[in-house]
Symmetry: C3
Subunit: 351 residues, 3 copies
């Protein structure tokens, strides 16, 4: 079950070149994306209405896309505008067109009712394309349901275990700290002090330096993670009374991540890492990202293994613990949003 009236990341801007249509499966639906000569990205159903060949094997011609099986041509609206060997093109010869917005170096596709596609609902990625920040980008394909990835990102206690040798820096501070969780519009805000944590090795900090980090992120439907981490000298957390800090941090790190379901069993995970140019060099930004990608590979190994166990368990039941607080709240929020978008359909069915 997917939330449909929502923007989903279909890829990084650089995934969509000028002259080659790109195939994506999102929420179980085959989609072809291509750039028009003016650079705008078009997203159509990747299935010719004639004999169901994928349009992603087609050819862009001007603003249009031609199916390269029998030559039907489609406009960005999805309307078929040419059927070779036939003078009349019936109006119902069309494929579905999806609203697209390119923003923050991501291409976003609206998977629900087109009339409801409000670009204001797109979560604003942190630092993407901002000249003040070094920015690194990547993505990973998972053989797992997207919810397990959301769960993972909503309970960062796992940093002390899954990532003990990477992001966790051999410290129990993530497992032992308790986040504040509050509901925001279409998401949750999750903040905490992680205290007395070793500074990362890729920065030029004195050896053995310990830090307090104020980590705060918004987790937005259907799976967008926007984290700002502010690092201070150890003691800052206590000095602030464990409240949000007002002082300038030593440095700040940003990461934006997006979880896009391919289908019920496969997911793509897009992520960035941004580091303040005023504080760190490009080499340090790249060194940081090497750690990020090692950690994301650790997540993938754990989550895919967890998913295999779940798929192999006839009636999987999970035992709640106190660290599940945020992920349970987010699962409820998603269920509410899905329920809400299905109400009109249900009302119609009841008439």
């Amino acid at each position: 079950m997917f939330l449909r009236n929502c923007w989903y990341v279909a890829g990084w801007s650089h995934h969509f070149p000028e002259d080659a249509p790109v195939a994506r499966t999102m929420l179980g639906e085959p989609i072809v994306l291509y750039r028009k000569p003016d650079g705008a990205v078009v997203a159509l159903e990747d299935r010719c209405c004639h004999r169901l060949a994928p349009l992603s094997k087609g050819r862009r011609e001007g603003d249009d896309l031609r199916c390269m099986y029998h030559g039907l041509k489609f406009a960005p609206s999805g309307q078929c505008v040419e059927i070779p060997g036939q003078s009349i093109v019936p109006p119902h010869a069309r494929v579905r067109a999806y609203p697209v917005v390119e923003q923050d170096r991501w291409v976003w596709v609206w998977m629900g009712e087109s009339a409801l596609a409000d670009p204001a609902l797109i979560p604003a990625a942190l630092g993407h394309g901002d000249p003040g920040w070094w920015m690194q980008t990547g993505h990973l394909a998972y053989e797992a349901n997207f919810q397990l990835i959301n769960d993972n990102l909503l309970d960062l206690a796992h940093l002390s275990y899954v990532h003990e040798n990477t992001l966790g820096r051999n410290s129990m501070s993530w497992a032992n700290s308790k986040p504040q969780v509050s509901r925001i519009e279409r998401g949750l805000r999750i903040s905490r002090w992680v205290v007395n944590n070793p500074a990362p090795k890729y920065l030029d900090q004195p050896q053995g330096m310990m830090t307090d980090m104020w980590t705060s992120y918004d987790y937005m439907a259907a799976g967008v993670f926007l984290l700002r981490t502010r690092s201070y000298a150890a003691g800052a957390a206590a000095a602030s009374g464990m409240q949000a800090p007002t002082a300038e941090p030593l440095w700040t790190t940003l990461t934006s991540q997006a979880v896009t379901p391919i289908d019920e069993r496969h997911t793509v995970y897009y992520y960035s890492g941004c580091l303040d140019k005023g504080f760190a060099s490009e080499e340090q930004s790249k060194a940081q990202f090497v750690i990020f990608e090692r950690a994301f590979a650790e997540d993938k190994a754990m989550i895919e293994a967890q998913q295999q166990v779940i798929w192999g368990t006839p009636e999987p039941r999970m035992l709640g613990t106190s660290s599940d607080h945020a992920l349970n709240q987010f699962r409820r929020l998603m269920a509410e949003l899905i329920d809400a978008e299905q109400l009109p359909a249900k009302a119609e069915a009841a008439e």
Copy 2:
């Protein structure tokens, strides 16, 4: 759903060597084929009646085939003639035997009721083994239902798109020409002029030479394609009033192709290419076949992609266009033949 009372190509003659049984799955049934010492091919159910081991892992002994799991031996009739350690062989110890005819370098197997296996129903391949023609042969395995391959071969408009750089020769002549379609016994005859088409580069024709081609093929149940192409200097089509030509062509090309279902999701495609020895050299025949095989790989890529889309679509619906005329007629013809062969079974069930 398959047409059972029909001859299907099980392979090229050279696929069946003298001393090694060969396994095939046809219409979902496991079949073992082997040559007797006199060269005749035998086709048996590839499943020992004892413990269901495949006889294709067995050993030919004289005219018979021995299962190499526990040693049961079967005659070409399918009757078990020896059970090691047991003096009596019960008459019901047998496997199914299939009628086989080797003709035109193809081994044909009758998949229906043996009593109805009439060799006269085998479509006559064009030029196979005829000393006046160069002959090249090949085959391809598809992950697709056989109907999609039949559809492809019944609408050659796709040559202008799928094969624009190979058989289509960058010309719209295939997409723009309309074939005449007529019903023949167990098939369709499909003919047309393809006009003002560049001569193929592998022949010694003057550069830039344009031709008119009279292309005519019979498409026979359950999927045999028999095409003769006669090439003339451009203008011949108009001169003949767009009717079948009576003049001698500059040259003629033949191709015979057979589509054999492995099961509902897999198919084998066998094909030849023949070129007149009086007109072309062996090198030219081979050069032509290189183009053929490039084109068949293009078909395979498109059809398998189309098949994946269809399998991924809950209720696939196709929009008819005028170029679907022949393939729709052939689908109806196949449905009639399948219905007809199931009438006796249905009548029996109704009693």
Copy 3:
């Protein structure tokens, strides 16, 4: 359908190192095995009760095993003894623990009701770890149901066909000899003279030497094969009146083999080969084992092919022959044992 109240081999002792948990699927259940500091092997459900991550990706800490997703720690009893970030551990936070016995270089796991796990039910492997015998070990994974492997081992007539070039030594003696079959506690005893059989080439016997072999094995639920083969000069069988021999053999060979279901479609096969140190050298023992492993690869090829045919047959039916006697008896024995262990459950359901 599996027999649950039974010991199954989970692997060779050397498969379980000191500091790395090992994952196994047995009878469809995910199991993690690890050694405590005292060397004892623990077997737990390989599925954390929190979010179902596999404990086999965890870390041994003392006698316990910690899940490396969110840090829950489990004792050898299966009881969770720590939940990070939470002071109370509820008693129902636990995973299943399986009885384990390490014996004869095999690690045995009891897959049924723990209270019934009687180590006396473990079949005694032949020669394992006995300093008087050379011992070689191996294992193979099958894509096949375990029953087909049991069937294979219960009808050694196949040695004359499947193994004609390895164990069968190009002789029909296995196919032509009839075993005596008797029922023993939880198994069958199967004995026979195999007469006039060439001596194996890897032993220093005179060229062309023929032997009579008294081969006797116990086949124990759910799939343990314990074979002792005594070789004599040809004529010994007749001299003994075809009864069990009392004289000292020229040499003796032992092999113990265990068939463990992974699930309904996959199986692991563990096997040893032992040769008398008083008779043969270590090189000869290794040379014998090369033949064994060649033969077991022959079995695997045949059985996996047979399994594919069976899976592809809608209603597979087998024709009985006289050589199926023992395997049919063993299938009945297994059905009785499975029925018996399900009686209490059925009685409960009926109340």
